[in-house]
Assembly symmetry: C2
Homo-oligomer: 353 residues x 2
């Protein structure tokens, strides 16, 4: 059972990508038109588009737009080399979420395969590959929505009747091509039982919980209570939280999961109260090439994300800042991983892929 | 060894109280002059002055100012009755911190005792008690600074060389008459070993960590790193935090301690990493009349504290808010309670008082 949501943070408009500028939500709903791969790289870096699956889809379109910029190249090997450089520049914008690298590599592999197979002359080949990359980006976008909806269906199994679900950051429609991972599970569960509700962590420093999760749940009429990040212990101790569902930016083969900074703290607090802690993420978030979360690179972002809110400083000058954007929750704190093919224990990932 | 600090949030100016307006820090250093007890009640409620010991001292001055407003009363029993009403109005401004009630009651007891003993005529008695209440408020203020300095001395024993100390909210000079409880320990430790440093939790919703703790530590040249509330798990897992020291608003006889919302979350995360967790608080914070933290009333504050920062909304309209200002950390998570007479295990309080 799907709860229809109109929220579409990424849309393909025939010759450009339309991104809903997530740095301005909930104050303003502004669409940014992306016509060049460089603009897409900047949009990902500046978090106009954010969320592991969403930056994956955006990266795929980035490669497609990049291919179009190579239209005047006549040699197919040179074309491929340039396209790989474009792919690298896109991948380097954000290091933690593996979906970005996954989607960019999907596009590059498509181009590489075509080159191996093609006996056509270079000009025809390049025109064709440009068309295929666009089609593939559109497919990745549509697949993502469908994957989220399947994930949502599987996830409903672990949501008790009338549950209050705590989530951290935004793993919603806005973090994907639509529907959401953690909030996709919420949407599917709410379609069956409209007595469930969400508690949303504010998620400092960038406040994706306050700005994005409250906005998209209010839009879809799902009851949501905003709490500050330190409050999770208070509400868990009072028995007001039934389960936690969060997204992920990268899951190691042992089940360790990187997600927005603060997630690990929530996981520890959930464990102390025996509250189930689930991660909802598509297969493309699982990185079987790494053994544990220790191998996941943690992006450090700017000082200003911590020291300023809405352009105004919140602290004394002269304070030190360390701003890791993600943390890793060890597998032992994760009750289950909700994917498009079912729910798995962290230890089961190795047997699956 | 005392680290001199010039920060004095409350000063007696002969006929009025000067409060450093803590709602404006670190942006502006504005002094508010309090001449009437009603103004003091408002200043406490609006958190112009905040921190358990500081609102205790302020409450004592509130009673003193209230007594002066009764100067025209000629009957000493009527005077006492009115003074008790003023005391109740001051105590009701903030329910969680017991220091406020403690200091107000100290003043009322002084007046009550004087009445019992006095054989003087009412007019002379009232003039005298007004004078004594002022002297007693000044004594409570001066005692608080001295108590904090003794607490700081005892606390140095548990600070390892070169330690990084995590604190939550502001239990500093600003939260007291001067010097601070948790930050008093930091000051005394820093006077001996200037390689120690502080990590300060931002402490949403009111950001006392970001606004006040960073300000007062930068003022006193003690190295401080500001982190968001969700980050504690990340830094503890990395081994970057050696111990936690926080203040308290009320400690029950079993050692359960109420402190700023988010403290319990930090305590759970510290426990998971085997990091010592200390509470620094004067005897006046210990409420032997209650058996456990379950009996501590938790103040709920306004919706706007969560939904707005610096006057600007940070979330979607239509979101629900619950805003408990404090949480209770059970005694089992507290390594020790640092007081002006020494450091005790939570279980030792019952034998002490």
């Amino acid at each position: 059972m799907i709860l229809e949501s109109k929220i579409r943070p990424i849309e393909w408009a025939g010759n450009h990508v339309k991104l809903l500028d997530q740095t301005l939500l909930p104050y303003e709903q502004k669409i940014v038109c992306i016509t060049k791969y460089q603009e897409m790289a900047t949009a990902i870096k500046d978090m106009i588009v954010r969320g592991a699956p969403a930056i994956g889809v955006s990266g795929a379109f980035g490669v497609s737009l990049g291919a179009k910029s190579l239209i005047n190249i006549t040699d197919k090997n040179e074309f491929l080399k340039k396209l790989e450089e474009i792919g690298e520049s896109l991948k380097s914008t954000r290091p933690t979420a593996v979906n970005l690298a996954w989607a960019v590599d999907k596009q590059l592999e498509l181009a590489q395969e075509q080159i191996l197979r093609s006996a056509q002359d270079d000009r025809v080949f390049i025109d064709e590959i440009i068309k295929k990359l666009e089609e593939n980006a559109i497919k990745i976008l549509n697949d993502d929505i469908e994957i989220n909806q399947r994930m949502g269906e599987h996830g409903t199994k672990i949501v008790p009747k009338g549950a209050t679900i705590l989530t951290h950051c935004n793993a919603g429609a806005l973090a994907t091509a639509g529907y959401g991972t953690a909030l996709g599970v919420v949407r599917s569960a709410f379609a069956r039982d409209n007595t469930i509700q969400v508690f949303a962590d504010e998620t400092r420093p960038r406040q994706q919980g306050a700005r994005l999760t409250t906005w998209e749940l209010v839009e879809d009429n799902i009851p949501v209570t905003l709490i500050t990040d330190g409050m999770c212990g208070y509400f868990m101790k009072k028995g007001m939280i039934d389960l936690v569902i969060v997204g992920a930016d990268r899951i190691a083969s042992n089940g360790d999961a990187a997600n927005k900074i603060g997630t690990y703290t929530v996981a520890l607090v959930a464990k102390a109260h025996n509250i189930p802690f689930y991660v909802a993420a598509p297969h493309s978030t699982i990185d079987m090439s790494i053994k544990s979360g220790d191998e996941i690179p943690i992006e450090e972002r700017s000082r200003e994300e911590v020291t300023h809110i809405n352009g105004k400083t919140i602290c004394a000058e002269g304070v030190n800042i360390i701003n890791p954007a993600f943390d890793v929750t060890p597998a032992e704190y994760i009750t289950g991983i909700i994917t498009e093919t079912g729910i798995y224990k962290p230890s089961e990932l190795n047997g699956l892929f």
